[in-house]
Amino acid sequence: MNLKRLVPLSGTLLLAVLLAGHLSTAAGPSAGDEIIAGEGCTSILVGKLASTDGSVMTTHTCDCGTCDWTWRHVPAADHKPGSTRKIYHISQYKTWPPAEGLKWDLYKKDATGLEIPEVAHTYAYHHGMFGYMNEKQVSIGESTIGCQRKMQNPTPAAKLDLSMLTLLGIERAATAREAIQVMGALAEKYGYGFHDDGEMLAVADANEAWIFEICPVGPLWTPDGGKPGAVWAAQRVPDDHVSVCPNESRIGEIDLTKTDFFMASSNVVSLAVEMGYYDPKSGKPFSFKRAYSPVEGSATSTNGRMQRLWRFFDLAAPSQKFKPETPNMDLPFSVKPDKKISVGDVMAMTRDRSYGTPFDPVQGIRGGPFKNPNYYRGTRVIDHGLAEYSTVTQSRAGLPDPIGGIVWIAFGSQDTSCYMPLYAGMTEIPKSFMVGDHWTFSRDSVRWAFDYTDFHVQVAYSEAIKDVQAAQAKYEAELIQRIPEIDAQALALYKKKPAKAAEFLTGFSLNNAATVTAAWWKLGDDLLVKYNRLYLYNAEKRGFSRGQPATPDWWKKAVRAFDILLEPDKK
C-alpha cells in the first residue's frame, strides 16, 4: 500500500473508530452515582405571553420505540362519600399482545393493593401513556430526568409511579398548581418510585406553565417511617418565556418565598443534606438539579448526545447566541423567545433534527445520497424517530374549558406524521387511536397508517419528505388556520347548550382524525408507487420511461473517493 493512500485510509479508519465511539451511546445500568442523560422524551413549555395567541403550551414526544401507543377517553365521574380509588403500578414500558386486550384495561392486573380515599368528583380527560388534558384545560407533558442511584426505589413500598400519579393529578385538579399539589402530596404519603425514578412533568393550565420534578427517596423508605416518600419541586415558567426538558433536570435554585413561582416538598433540602448531596456549609445555594439529578456535559462535550437543550434555546432565542460548549447545567431554566411562538412553531420544534448545526445528522455522508436523518443516530435530536406519538397541548384562557383545551396528537415519527386536534370537551376519541401495537400490523390502528407512510419515506428520504410536507401543509397547517372558526362555532353552541358544543367538537375531531388517517394510508400507497424500486414513477402520466431520484454530485464523489481508497495496489 503506498503512502498516499495509507494516509487517507488511516484517516478513514480513524474516522470509523471515532464514529463507532460516537455512535455507541448504550450505557447500560450504572453502578455509580453518575446520572446518564436519558435518550427519551422531550417536553417543551410555552408561557401565555410567549405564544402568538395567548395559549399556554406543553409538548411530549413520547420517545420509546417499543411502548404502548393507545389512547382512551375517561369520562367525568361523581363518587359517593367513602368511595376509594384503587392504585395500580403502571409501567411506561409494559405492553400486552392485542389479542389479550387493551393496556388501559389490563394494567389493572397490577394492583398495588392500596386504595386511597376518592374525591367527590373526578374530571374527564384524554389518556395516553399519561393523563394529558382534562376538561379544565389542565395539561401534562413528560420527560424522564433520572436521579441519584441511591434515591431509586423499585420496591413495592412505593405505591405510586409516574403514570398513576398523572392520572390522579389530572382526575382531581382544576389548575396546574392544584395538579402539582395533588401529585406531590400523594407521592409523599404513599411513596413514589417503583417503575420510575427521577421524572419531570410539564404541567399547565390556561394561565400558567410549570415544570414539576419528582424523585424517589431510596429503597429503604417505608410508609410508617414518618418521612415523605418522595422529594419534589416545581418552578413556573415566566409567562413570556419558553422552556424545555430533554431528559435533564431543569430546576436549580428555588425560592419558596416566591409562592407564585416555586413549590416543593417539605424535605426538598433536608433529604439532600441527609443523603450527602448538599452541604449547607459549602456556602453555595441549594440546587435541586445539582443535588438530585446532576448531569455533566454539554452539547459539544457529548458529541451531540446532550444537544437538545442548547438546540431548543438556540431555536427559540437565536439572538442570545447560546453556545453549545456551555455545560447544560449552566444553561438557563427558561428564555424569552425572540418572537412569539405559534402552535405551528411548536409542532416544528418537535420535528427538529438540528439541520445546519454542528450536530446535523445528515452532514457529510451520514445521511446517504438521500439525506436520510435516520441513518445516523449518534447525535440525539428532538425528532429522533422514536416517538410512539407526540403531543402539543394548548390551554387557552378566554374560551370555555371544553373549547379552550386542545391536545394535538401526531402518531409515529414527527417528521412524517400529522398533528390532529382533540378538544378537551370531546366525549370520545377515535377508535383507531385505541388499538394496535408494534408487533402486529393493523389497518385498524391509526399508528400504522403513519408508520406505513414513514416506512416508504425512508427509501428516498430527501424526495419523499417533500410529499409528506405537502400533505402536512394541507391537513395540518390549513387546519390550524381553521381552528378559530371551529372555536367560534363551538362557542355559539356552548352558549346555547354546552352539551351541543361537546357533541360538535367530538364530531369535528373524530371526522378530522378519520380524514387524516385515510389520507396517510393513501400517502403511503402513493409513495410506494412513486418511489418503487428506487425509480420515479409518474402515476398520472403512466409513461414508459421512468426516472430515478437525483443522486447528488457530492455522493458520486464520495463513492469515487472510496473506490480509490479501496483500489488494489498497482505494482
Binding site: 448504550a26 445500568p29 453502578a31 403500578h89 442511584r149 431509586q152 429503597p219 417505608t222 417511617g225
Partner: protein
C-alpha cells in the same frame, strides 16, 4: 441515626423478630467478604447494595459474574466496568486483601429485559451463567443467599422470565429472604419447606438491613 430512622429500624426489627419466630429459624452467621449480584439483571440489586451500605457492610458487586470472577475473590481480580458489565467494590482491602475468597454470594432475583438487553444477555444464557456460578459456590462451600424484594412485579406465571430466574437460584440457596409481597402465593414458603432452606419473610426492604447485619457482622 436520627429518631425517626431509629424508630423505623426498631419497627423493622420487631417485624423481623416476628418472622423468625414464625419460621423458627435464626439467620445463619456468615463472614465476609461478600459478593452481590443479580439473577436476571434485577434492579433490586441496587436496593440490596443500598441495604448493605445502610448496614455498614462492605461488599463487591458485579452484575454478571462468572465462576472465574468469583474464584478471583475480593476485588474481582481488579476488573473494571465496561459496556454491558458493571463492577463496584466497597470491600475493605485492609481486612480482606484482593483475592480473599468470598464467603458468600447474594443474588437479587428478578428478570429485567431492559437490563439483560443492555448487557447482551438472554434468559437462556443467564440461566446457564447462574448455574455455573452456583455450582462453583457449592463446590467451594460459598454461602448462597437469595433475596426477592421486588414484590409481585418480579413474579409471574410459571415459566415466565421472573419465575425462571427464581428457579435458577432459589432452590439452590442456603438462605432465602423475601418480602411478603413477593411471597403472596406462598411459593417461597413451599420451596423453603421442600428444600429445607431457611426462609425469612420481611415487610419492606428496610427489614433486610438487620438481617444482613446479623449474618455478616
Amino acid at each position: 441515626m436520627n429518631k425517626r430512622t431509629f424508630l423505623g429500624l426498631a419497627a423493622a426489627s420487631v417485624v423481623l423478630a416476628a418472622t423468625f419466630l414464625i419460621a423458627g429459624q435464626a439467620p445463619p452467621k456468615v463472614g465476609l467478604p461478600v459478593l452481590t449480584t443479580s439473577a436476571g439483571q434485577s434492579t433490586d440489586v441496587t436496593t440490596l447494595n443500598i441495604v448493605l451500605d445502610e448496614a455498614g457492610i462492605t461488599y463487591d458487586y458485579c452484575d454478571v459474574p462468572t465462576p472465574e470472577m468469583v474464584a478471583d475473590g475480593a476485588g474481582l481480580g481488579g476488573r473494571e466496568s465496561g459496556p454491558g458489565f458493571h463492577v463496584e467494590s466497597t470491600t475493605d482491602s485492609s481486612k480482606y486483601p484482593a483475592g480473599t475468597p468470598y464467603k458468600a454470594v447474594i443474588f437479587a432475583i428478578g428478570a429485567s429485559l431492559k437490563g439483560m438487553g443492555a448487557s447482551g444477555l438472554t434468559l437462556d444464557s443467564e440461566e446457564a451463567r447462574l448455574k455455573k456460578v452456583i455450582d462453583f459456590c457449592k463446590q467451594k462451600k460459598i454461602f448462597v443467599m437469595a433475596v426477592h424484594i421486588g414484590g409481585e412485579s418480579k413474579r409471574g406465571p410459571a415459566g415466565s422470565d421472573n419465575e425462571r430466574m427464581i428457579d435458577a437460584v432459589a432452590p439452590y440457596a442456603d438462605y432465602l429472604v423475601v418480602t411478603k409481597d413477593s411471597n403472596k402465593d406462598g411459593r417461597f414458603t413451599k420451596l423453603s419447606q421442600s428444600k429445607k432452606i431457611p426462609l425469612t419473610e420481611i415487610e419492606y426492604a428496610l427489614g433486610l438491613v438487620d438481617i444482613v447485619k446479623q449474618i455478616f457482622q
